[in-house]
């Protein structure tokens, strides 16, 4: 394949913020109010809150947002994408090319493109795993920043004018609903499936044994257990290492659950289905085992189906960010394959460019652990199959990455009594002592004795998983996490290609006001020319243009244009078909892939020069339409001089 040739120095893209006087700013930009829809991060939104918020935003900002429903989950919840872009800008090729003599029966299978498809796109999602709803919160934070900053912040305004943001707060709404709104942590989607083969579907999942309205844990003494009571505070359970010895009483912890269907097992047929992030077609496990947690086949779940269909019909996405928890680092592709499968220039973009910035934003520029890929180099085997970002990079052609948000030690803010110590016990203790919490909900339920049907005597209580289970602490911690990643998205969006047609000229080479058609016939060495009907005003025009990409990234990832469904950039010269005849050059010309301005590309590869020779009758107007899938569509009218 390609050698992993690394460039040691990358010319960083130029600063996005122009140094304009403040006065000039306020007079030439629209003075939109900043935040029309207030939002708080003192608690989790959950499914209901997130849907309500995006609906309110779409209502409040009709000129720059549009709410789409791209599918429905198994339990019929909507999967929403909020499109953020200036709806007054942007165009697509199909509205410029008139079609004639189409088939009489007129099959209308091609819907007109939306103007937001004519701009470079960036996709951001959260909540693929239902219990990783910090991601949902971060997407809402990003939405708030974009719509509130539009019109007042120059960088944001430019980005929203020129690009399209596709933001999907909950890829897996059923999982988020169960995890937050119902308090039953569910990573997977929901499915109607008879897991235990007893003829009933979803009849036995976690449930509230002690009637306190929460699903917490049941702890019981167990000589094989992996937990002991914390020395500092016996309310806290500490997990032992795999081979750790102890002479303290061992406990086991299980989720609150009873045997609802009386079959001797508990929790054996819950609502949860498959892991959506193993249900994508790149490296999906197509081997003999067609069952399992990755779905019956790639794209079988309604959630991945909705994403795949959306991407297939919206080919302008060049950047993909998926938010998960936890750990506080970012994965770039692949999970399935080793790095040899990624071309060198792409590795440079990922690691040297984006990775460097990410580590800098997190505040630990030398921490190599912050930027990784999931593939297990040390064991020579995949981390997983059918991962979303693998597909988005390999088959769709975007720079895709997954961020595992929330590192409790690094990201905790505003927790009295905790100063960033390594000791988890100290963190737990600080949590328990936290009195002026921003959110009202309980984080800890005191242990109460309970007699479990199968496991015997023990206690119910412990941490409420919604708040202490791998997600950010609402309040200052969550805001800090969101802000860091908002800055990263802002940075990446600034890397998107920016195409322009400059120096476009139509130069008349020959003109006649009394031109006529003619026909030529030859016999031997003599050619006889017979004039026919008159044409009137007639010109031979040379059209030239230079196309340039002033953005850092190319309009495709390396070899991305070769992928099925993708294409090279192209440019059309359009005018009245009956009066414009192409003498040299076809109506549309291929431009290959316009490189960006980064050092990783060849010098001059970010521009093209095109020319045509056309014969023009009368005074029709000409226009150039530059059309790039991920670079956007640009139009330039030409006046013939």
């Amino acid at each position: 394949m390609h050698t992993s040739r690394r460039w040691t120095r990358i010319r960083r893209p130029g600063s996005l913020t122009l140094a304009l006087p403040a006065l000039f700013l306020t007079t030439c930009l629209q003075a939109l109010p900043a935040q029309e829809v207030p939002i708080s991060f003192d608690d989790f939104h959950g499914f209901e809150g997130a849907v309500e918020y995006v609906r309110e935003v779409a209502d409040a900002y009709p000129e720059i947002t549009e709410l789409l429903e791209i599918g429905r989950s198994t339990m019929d919840r909507p999967i929403h994408v909020l499109v953020i872009t200036n709806s007054a800008t942007g165009t697509t090729l199909d509205r410029h090319v008139p079609l004639r003599n189409m088939r009489k029966e007129g099959v209308d299978n091609v819907p007109p493109m939306r103007s937001y498809q004519g701009k470079p796109g960036i996709w951001i999602d959260g909540g693929t795993h239902g219990n990783e709803y910090t991601g949902t919160e971060v997407t809402l934070y990003i939405i708030d920043k974009l719509v509130s900053g539009y019109g007042s912040d120059e960088a944001i305004t430019r980005l929203v004018d020129e690009n399209t943001f596709y933001i999907c707060p909950m890829v897996n709404p059923d999982g988020v609903y169960n995890s937050v709104d119902r308090g039953i942590s569910q990573r997977q989607n929901s499915m109607r499936r008879d897991d235990d083969g007893d003829g009933r579907v979803n009849e036995d999942g976690p449930d509230d044994m002690n009637g306190d309205g929460l699903i917490t844990t049941f702890r019981y003494p167990d000589p094989e257990g992996r937990y002991v009571l914390s020395q500092e505070d016996p309310r806290i359970m500490v997990r032992l290492d795999r081979d750790e010895e102890t002479d303290r009483q061992r406990y086991s912890l299980v989720r609150e659950d009873s045997d609802e269907d009386g079959d001797g097992e508990w929790g054996e047929d819950p609502m949860r289905g498959i892991d959506v992030n193993r249900n994508f077609p790149e490296g999906w496990f197509t081997d003999d085992n067609s069952q399992g947690g990755s779905g019956a086949y790639a794209a079988s779940s309604p959630e991945s189906h909705a994403i795949l269909e959306f991407f297939s019909t919206h080919r302008n996405i060049l950047l993909v960010q998926s938010f998960h928890t936890s750990g506080g680092f970012t994965y770039r592709p692949f999970a399935r394959w080793p790095d040899e499968e990624i071309p060198g220039p792409d590795l440079t973009v990922f690691d040297d460019l984006m990775g460097t910035k990410y580590k800098e934003l997190v505040g630990e520029p030398d921490n190599a652990d912050l930027w990784r890929h999931p593939y297990r180099d040390d064991r020579g085997r995949p981390y997983g199959f059918g991962i979303f970002i693998d597909w988005a990079y390999a088959q769709y052609g975007s720079y895709a990455m997954t961020t595992e948000l929330w590192n409790w030690r690094r990201d905790t803010r505003g927790l009295p009594g905790y100063q960033g110590e390594e000791d988890r016990g100290a963190w737990y203790a600080a949590l328990l002592a936290w009195e002026n919490r921003p959110f009202d909900e309980r984080i800890f339920v005191p242990w109460e004795p309970y007699d479990h049907e199968q496991l015997g005597e023990g206690e119910v209580g412990g941490w409420v998983s919604t708040y202490v289970g791998g997600n950010a602490l609402p309040g200052a911690s969550l805001r800090h996490v969101a802000e860091t990643h908002w800055q990263f998205e802002l940075y990446k969006a600034g890397l998107l290609p920016r195409l322009e047609i400059d120096s476009a000229r139509a130069e008349v080479l020959y003109r006649s006001s009394s031109a006529a058609r003619a026909q030529a016939s030859s016999r031997g060495n003599t050619v006889t020319i017979r004039p026919q009907g008159g044409l009137g005003e007639y010109r031979v025009v040379k059209v030239t243009a230079t196309i340039r990409n002033t953005g850092p990234l190319a309009t495709h990832r390396t070899q991305g244009d070769d992928l099925a469904g993708n294409r090279e950039d192209a440019i059309w010269l359009l005018g009245d078909r009956d009066r414009v005849k192409f003498l040299q050059g076809r109506a549309w010309q291929e431009l290959g892939v316009l490189a960006g301005t980064l050092d990783v590309y060849e010098e001059g590869a970010n521009q093209r020069a095109v020319s045509w020779l056309v014969a023009v009758e009368g005074e029709p107007s000409l226009k150039l339409v530059l059309t790039s899938q991920k670079g956007g569509t640009k139009v330039r009218e030409l006046s013939v001089r």
Binding site: L93, D94, V97, P98, L99, R100, N101, M102, R103, K104, E105, V107, N109, V110, P111, P281, T286, D288, N289, S290, Q291, A296, Y297, A298, A299, S300, H305, L308, E309, F311, S312, Q395, L563, A564, G565, R567, E568, A570, W572, R577, F582, R586, A587, W588, E590, T627, Q629, T633
Partner: protein, 631 residues
């Protein structure tokens, strides 16, 4: 044997055998008589010498279901991209049980939009089953015991367009997902059209002094200019009829049609052929989801055109490791073939000219599937006369998913092949001259478009013609539609009649000493198909067959270990397949008899033993044997 308890050995045996009567009786009234070979055709008159549009064929399906509602159900399994319902007929006798409780045959046609022969073949099969039910014992039994899921048109949007509107034989093939074939940024913008409005899509030629073609002397077609010095009007080909819709100077460069639906299935799927993602097309996804939800589907037929092929799904090739392991301690024992492949085939063909043999070597756990498929397609070759069986491909095809993911035996039929009729010089190709000759002779000239000049708005004067009409090359002319349908229905019916059936071949009671008795039960599947495919076992989704023992209170089953020794002619238990348990799990292969041996103790002078078979695809027969001691 004590004289006090003289066991009536013979009568007991006779009693047992007498109970092994015919299968549960027909629940319908007696069949109608069929004078003069009449089998109900006029009960639902229909022409099989034509093709039907979407409205027509779905209307026929609804009418059939309406008239034969005791045998058929109709449903839509989902909608197509353009909103058409995919209608499916479920055919089985309602009175003998619900459709999902019987082994089912899946039949679909025309996944490729232009391969509409499959629609008539599927529809014919449905009509055949329903009209003949009261007149034909074979059909009667089949419809009583088997379910048929028949989806005549799969790619309904393209099917409809192909039948009703002018089209070349090659398009529309795919589903209607927008696709930018020429990379110009527009989708499906330059399609073929009927330029001269004659209702046919032919080919365009333009005069070109450098062109390689000329009009043939009889004026029927364009032929190559053999002699360069010939002074004749020359032409060059422009491709199929059409206009330059988008003004880019090219014609028909981006026709309607997206991904190939028969590369869209999940098994062996790849991006280039099956894009954008597995099961992306509603038409194919609806089909696969239906099949997944109906696990009683035992085998499937998928209709395509053209080529006269029976493409069967075969088990995977054995890896070197599997072959080495199979040889094991027996050395080369597992390599069954002593002769070369060619010699073996020649040997078989010497006895049966339709014999088939495939070179693929499979691992032992798949050998039965390989043998079964070979046997089935051998009969298929015999029934269809001039079709060739081959092994089908993977790469996201429907029948690969059916076999490899669901464990059902699958066949892709490439229907019709004009070479059988028109290839006079037998070089495997049919040139336009050969088509013309055949059309003149057998179709009396119908089916040919003569070249004629036409004014083209973008090109000036062009000549259009010199080609066959739509239903010649790929799909049969209308007069041959019934012929293809009849033969193919026969093959489907044959396969369905070979679905497994478990029966009690024999039950023997042999007294041992005292009040102990040996009971030997022989279960038979005398059909070609096994009760469970090898593939389903390997997938881990198999529900094994079960034999359950019950007895009266005074009869007790004595536990017995299975003998370890392989060959012991003295100990009969050693040769049984299953010994002495109340529940046996097993699988019956095709044409197999399995023996189960029980040792029972009866106190008192009378009692009974009962055996219940539970086989998902083979049925649930049971037998009870009364034991009476006479004095």
């Amino acid at each position: 044997m004590s004289t006090k308890q003289k066991i009536m050995l013979l009568p007991v045996c006779i009693l047992a055998l007498a109970l092994l009567g015919p299968a549960p009786g027909l629940s319908q009234e007696k069949l109608q008589e069929s004078p003069g070979g009449y089998h109900g055709e006029q009960d639902f008159p229909i022409s099989w010498k034509r093709y039907y549009s979407y409205e027509e064929w779905t209307g026929i399906m609804h009418d059939l279901q309406d008239q034969y509602s005791h045998l058929a159900d109709i449903q839509s399994i989902g909608t197509s991209r353009m909103g058409r319902e995919q209608y499916l007929l479920t055919i089985t006798a309602r009175d003998t049980g619900p459709h999902q409780d019987k082994p089912a045959m899946w039949v679909d046609g025309a996944i490729h939009g232009n391969e509409v022969n499959g629609i008539t073949c599927s529809l014919y099969l449905a009509w055949y089953l329903l009209t003949r039910y009261d007149y034909d014992e074979f059909v009667h039994d089949l419809v009583n015991s088997t379910t048929f899921y028949i989806l005549p048109g799969l790619n309904v949007d393209a099917n409809h367009s192909y039948v009703v509107h002018p089209n070349t034989p090659n398009n529309p093939r795919e589903t209607y997902r927008p696709e930018d074939n020429d990379g110009d940024g527009l989708y499906d913008e330059d399609r073929t059209e009927d330029v001269d409005g004659d209702g046919e899509l032919s080919y365009m030629y333009v005069e070109d002094p450098e062109g390689p073609l000329k009009l043939s002397p009889d004026g029927h077609l364009f032929v190559e200019v053999a002699d360069d010095r010939e002074r004749v009007r020359r032409f060059r080909s422009l491709g199929p009829e059409g206009f330059d819709n988008d003004g880019d100077g090219l014609i028909n460069e981006d026709d309607i049609g997206g991904p190939d639906p028969n590369r869209n299935f999940p098994y062996g799927w790849n991006l280039d052929a099956g894009n954008p993602y597995p099961m992306s097309e509603p038409e194919t996804r609806n089909v696969f989801e239906f099949q997944r939800a109906h696990d009683n589907i035992f085998a499937s037929f998928h209709y395509h055109n053209t080529g006269r092929l029976i493409m069967m799904q075969a088990p995977p090739r054995a890896t070197e490791e599997e072959l080495t392991e199979a040889r094991g301690e027996y050395g080369y024992y597992y390599r069954r073939r002593q002769m070369s492949y060619e010699d073996s085939l020649a040997f078989l063909r010497g006895k049966n000219k339709y014999a088939q043999l495939f070179e693929r070597e499979v691992a032992p756990q798949y050998q039965h599937d390989m043998d079964v498929q070979t046997a089935i397609v051998t009969m298929g070759a015999q029934i269809l006369k001039n079709y060739e069986p081959v092994i089908g491909g993977l790469s996201g095809q429907a029948h690969a998913a059916t076999y490899y993911m669901l464990g059902a035996y699958a066949y892709l039929m490439e229907l019709w092949g004009s070479p059988a009729f028109a290839d006079i010089d037998e070089d495997g190709r049919v040139t336009n001259e050969e088509y013309l000759r055949w059309i003149d002779l057998e179709l009396h000239g119908e089916g040919w478009i003569d070249p004629h000049p036409v004014q083209h708005p973008d090109l000036g004067e062009v000549w259009i013609g010199g080609s066959p009409t739509k239903h010649i090359r790929r799909t049969p002319p209308s007069r041959y539609v019934e012929m293809e349908a009849q033969k193919n229905a026969d093959f489907v019916l044959f396969s369905a009649s070979e679905f497994p059936e478990v029966t009690f071949h024999d039950i023997q009671v042999t007294p041992e000493t005292g009040n102990l008795y040996w009971v030997d039960v022989e279960l038979e599947n005398d059909r070609l198909y096994p009760t469970i495919s090898d593939r389903e076992i390997q997938l881990g989704t198999a529900v094994m067959d079960r034999l359950i023992f019950r007895s009266s209170n005074n009869v007790e089953l004595l536990p017995m270990p299975q003998e370890e020794t392989r060959f012991d002619p003295v100990n009969p238990a050693a040769s049984a397949d299953g010994v002495g348990e109340a529940r046996h799990e097993f699988r019956l292969r095709g044409k197999e008899i399995r023996t189960f041996r029980y040792l029972v103790e009866m106190s008192g002078s009378g009692g009974w033993v009962e055996f219940q078979v539970e086989s998902k695809f083979g049925g649930n027969p049971s037998e009870r044997v009364e034991l009476r001691v006479s004095n």
